[in-house]
């Protein structure tokens, strides 16, 4: 579904991704773990097409298309969702307006009819309930005045509404208490656990992976994947630390 081949990328002339290769099949949840500064967030931004992140080599194929050749909004319409580590506040724009426009822009890009106001609100209510987020929050401006945990839950409500084929979730668990982590994890399972969908789950900690069970776990270090294994790899990292696990021969 997503195939990253020998990807290199830099910011301000500094190489961050250094020959990264990774494949995620449909129906798969693939966790990416790695020490600070390994390039985890850079990977998510490069996949999303953030300006300033320059791809200097390699390729990314998404559902058979050249992902790197698409504009950020085209990537979204093609089914890619980027869950932000730090969701952005947009004063003056309500969640409802923003998400309805975004959803209808994506639908238009796919040649589908737009949702009416009533249809959209019904969908939004359903997804807000799934993430236990008060519907009133969605009437407020995008992320403005939301706590860290509320932002992350709102991010997952957005994912539920947009219903992407593939999600790159960048530290969606950071800033969540234990109860909220369970709600968000259950939300990811409900929205993305599907034989036709895929997830790249970027995280520091095992605790999210207790709820969202990954099919594969890869370790990212110094801009490349250095080890890939099953869910047990994450448990070992939690117990033994990156240095010990990465020191073993591949």
């Amino acid at each position: 579904m997503l195939k990253i081949d020998n990807l290199t990328a830099e910011i301000d002339g500094k190489t961050i991704l250094n020959g990264l290769s990774l494949e995620v099949a449909a129906g798969e949840i693939h966790a990416i773990m790695g020490p600070n500064g390994a390039g985890k967030s850079t990977l998510s931004y490069v996949l999303g097409g953030r300006p300033g992140y320059e791809v200097t080599g390699g390729s990314v194929t998404f559902r058979g298309q050249d992902l790197l050749d698409m504009e950020p909004h085209e990537r979204a319409a093609a089914g890619l969702f980027l869950g932000f580590q730090y969701p952005v506040e947009i004063p003056g724009v309500s969640n409802v307006q923003f998400l309805r426009e975004a959803l209808n822009a994506q639908r238009k890009g796919r040649g589908e009819e737009p949702l009416s106001g009533g249809e959209f609100l019904k969908l939004a209510k359903e997804k807000a309930a799934l993430l236990k987020l008060d519907m009133d929050m969605l009437k407020r401006n995008v992320n403005v005045g939301f706590s860290g945990g509320e932002k992350k839950r709102a991010e997952m409500v957005q994912m539920g509404i947009l219903d992407p084929a593939f999600a790159v979730l960048d530290e969606t668990d950071s800033g969540l208490d234990i109860d909220a982590l369970r709600v968000v994890g259950d939300g990811i399972n409900a929205i993305m656990r599907d034989s036709g969908k895929g997830v790249l789950l970027i995280t520091h900690y095992q605790r999210l992976l207790d709820v969202v069970k990954p099919d594969k776990v890869s370790i990212l270090s110094k801009g490349r994947i250095v080890k890939t294994g099953g869910p047990e790899l994450a448990l070992r990292l939690e117990n033994e630390g990156y240095d010990a696990v990465m020191a073993e021969p591949a």
């Binding site: 953030r50 504009e71 950020p72 990537r75 979204a76 932000f84 947009i90 959803l103």
Partner: protein
Amino acid sequence: MTQDVAFPTRKDEAWRYSDTDALAGMDLGVFDRWQDIEVPAGETLRETLVISDENADPDGVELRRLRVKIGKGARFELFGVIAGAQLGRVEVVLTLAEGAHFEMGGITVGGRSTVREFVTRVAHEEPNATSNQIVRSVHWGKGTGNFLGRIDVVRDAQKTDAAQSFKGLLLEKGASVNAVPQLEIFADDVKCEHGASVGQMDENARFYMAARGLSPEASRRLLVQAFIGDALVELDDEAEQERLLRIALDKLDKHL
């Protein structure tokens, strides 16, 4: 007897950032045409002004000059969009009697080398009057947006509460905005505040919106709408709010 009228130059404080060259050849009578408005005590009056390509020559001058007297306890509301003419200018000279209120929301948008400006002179002549002026300017090309707001508070006008807020959004390098607040206060128990800021589009927000599927044009429109919406918050008529917003946003869509 007619009063002597001469065109101003940029040395005149109220025309400092204007396009006085554009005035050349203009009919002096038209230049000096003022609309007088009186709001009787206790009443409320709303005036809506639009300067757009619909009613103004894109290369000409379009002035709206108002002289307003707001009576005791009365309320005057002025909402305006300047989105047309080479020089589009709304000028208001206004006096407030005791306990009166003046509410203003102004929007300027424009590119090319146009100048679009609000110039106000608000005199608090009696106690307990309040005024609130909000101007939002969005410009591109070599376009300029100005808000020159003078507030006079006379000695007896205690408990005056006057506020001005200006924000400029520059969509391209070369565009500019100017804010000139001028406060002349002779009473000692008054509240006068003004704020001015200028910035560019929030690129973080734009990437966030793109990542959810909005095209660059759509995200720009949403952000500009949110930005200029501030000026219409106090306009208690949703249809009118939408009409003014649409005039400003259509200008943007048409020319960028």
